[in-house]
Structures are given as structure tokens and as C-alpha cells.
Symmetry: C2
Subunit: 184 residues, 2 copies
Amino acid sequence: MREPVPIHRIVVEARELFREYGYEGASMRDLADRVGLRPQSLYTRFSSKESLVREVLALTLDDTLAGLPDPATDWRAAWRTLIERIAGTFEARGRCVGLHLAYGVTAQTPDARDAVRAFFARLRDAMVGILEAGTISEPASVAADTLAQLEGATLWITTEGDMEPLRHAVERALRIGDQEGRPM
Amino acid sequence: MREPVPIHRIVVEARELFREYGYEGASMRDLADRVGLRPQSLYTRFSSKESLVREVLALTLDDTLAGLPDPATDWRAAWRTLIERIAGTFEARGRCVGLHLAYGVTAQTPDARDAVRAFFARLRDAMVGILEAGTISEPASVAADTLAQLEGATLWITTEGDMEPLRHAVERALRIGDQEGRPM
DNA sequence: GTCTATATTGAGATAGAC
DNA sequence: GTCTATCTCAATATAGAC
């Protein structure tokens, strides 16, 4: 009798594969190899490869938002922590699993597509909540723009290993609210 | 005797497939169906699926840069035309084939990876040339940041159909040089 | 929960006729 | 340049024993 592989471990490894290889490029075989199982055994834990997308993004959203400083107490601390968590992952891993999946899921995988949409909507909504606590004007627009700028900067990490655009995006994000009304 | 399929047509269709489905998700079978050939026939025109990446990106770079206004004469016209070409494609197609390939090519496809690197480097260099004609400070940094912001905005087009972040990125790009020294 | 065995499908690619 | 025929491999997924 061997120890069952913890489900959390499987999802973490699936995330690495989706981030690096995308939805189509990641295989159940590769995932099985990483966790020391036969590919068939994964199907007793997950009904399909597609269903893994929701699990991966739920874990990622939790990693990103869990234990943030309370925006009502110190919105700047909450904002800074969130931005640095996102950017920190991009620096460490070189790219964003959510963006790779956003581009990679299609009409053939509607459940995965819905999970991706929900992931980014919730992330943006969390950002909006923080910006509202800081009485930033047009928080929905600022949140979407900020996330887009962080995501876009991963282009240069993945192609050239250049972190500068990401750092610039972080600096712009952290300057939000310094002087309301300043053109961005 | 039937008319041979023009090679340009094959590359254009391959671009559509790579943009929508990524490198792994696009198949030679799908491409053959689109151009009315058997999959095997594609191999008399292209040595491999991987080699299509370079063709697709060469065509895209040409589409993007051909016939731009001369920066030496009117750098703002050149800049505006270039930004609007890039953003126009993103609006029309919903996403960027270069970004999808940047995330999708791996160490297993080194030639494709190199083609992607070269594509973005040349695009950035073209932007740098225009900004230099406008005596914009730190042109390399501004070019990379601008392209990153346009690319990142496609996240919201692909997930929610929201064009606003892209339009904001365009507005920021077109404001470059309005007053040198202004914080971005 | 994991295994062996297997089904099914589709991928990229090559050989040789026309 | 395109075709038919074929090769080889890997993908997702299921059935049933332990």
C-alpha cells in the first residue's frame, strides 16, 4: 500500500505544465510523470484534462488573494502586496499561467474557457475593491489597465528574459493614487 | 491539372490558426482543410510545421512595417500609423499571433523560438527608430513598454471582448512626446 | 487509489504514382 | 504540386483487477 498522491501536489504540477506549455501543449502523460503516477490514474482524481484548468486557477486565485492586508485599514498596503505578488510570480516563473490559458482555451473546451474568464474577473474585482477603498476614480478601468500592463510585460520576459518592462509596469501601478487627476 | 495553391494563401491561413489555437493547437490537417489540400501536400511547400512559424512572422512583420511614413519627415505620423496598425489587428482579430507563439514555442522548437525572438526584436527596433527621430528619451525602454501595454490589453479582448484597455494603451502610446519629462 | 491493458483518435511526417 | 497509402508515435480516456 502506497501513499496516495496529495491532490494539491497534482494541481501545482498541472499549473507548472499549463504555464510553460499551455493547454494543448501540456499532456496528462507529462503530469503523471511529474507526480509519479500512470496517466490513467489521474482520471480517478479529475474527470478530464479540461477540469484541471478550473482547479489550477482556483488555486492560483487563492495564492494571490489569501491573507492580503485589509483595504479598509490600509488600501495602499493591500494594493502593493497584491501587485508585488503578481509581479513576483511573473519574475520567478517568467510568464502567467492565466494568460497562457486565456489564449489557449477555445470553444472546444467551454468549461475551461469559463474558468479563465471567471479567474480574471475575480482578480480584477479584487483590485477594484482595493482601489475603491482608496477612493481612486474609475477603479474598474484602472484595475483592468493595471493587470493588462503587468501581463503584457511578460512578453519580454519570455522572449528575451528582460524584466525591465515588468518593473516599469509595477512602478506605474504603485504610483496610482499619488496625485489623483494626473494623466496616466 | 489544378491551379497550385499560392504560398501566400497558405501562410495567411497558418497565421489565423496559430493566432487562434497557438502552436500546439494548430494542426497541419486544419491548415490543409482551409486551403483545400491534403495534409501531406503541405510538406512539399514547407519542410515542417515548425518552419511555418518563421514564414508567418515574416509576413506579419512586413504587413506591419511596409510603407510606413518616413520618420525623418514626420515621426509622429510614422508612430501613429504603426500603433494603429498593431492595435487595429488586435481589435479585428482579438489577439496577437506573436504573443500566442511567444508563449507557445518551447525548447523543442528552437527554430520557431528564435523566429519569435527576432520578430519582436525587429518590431521593437522599428519603434525605436521612430522614437529616436522624435528625440524621445530612452527610446528602447519606451518602445518595449508600449508594445507590452498593447499586447497585455489583448487579455481583456480575448476573455471578455472588452476593447477599453486596448484603447487606453493606444491613447498612452499616442501621448508619448507630448511633453518630454512627464511621468508615465 | 493505483495498476495493467486497451480503445480510439489524431498528430507530424515520408514514399512513390500521376 | 497534389494525390493515395502508409508509418510511427502520442494523445485522452475507459474497463476491470488488486
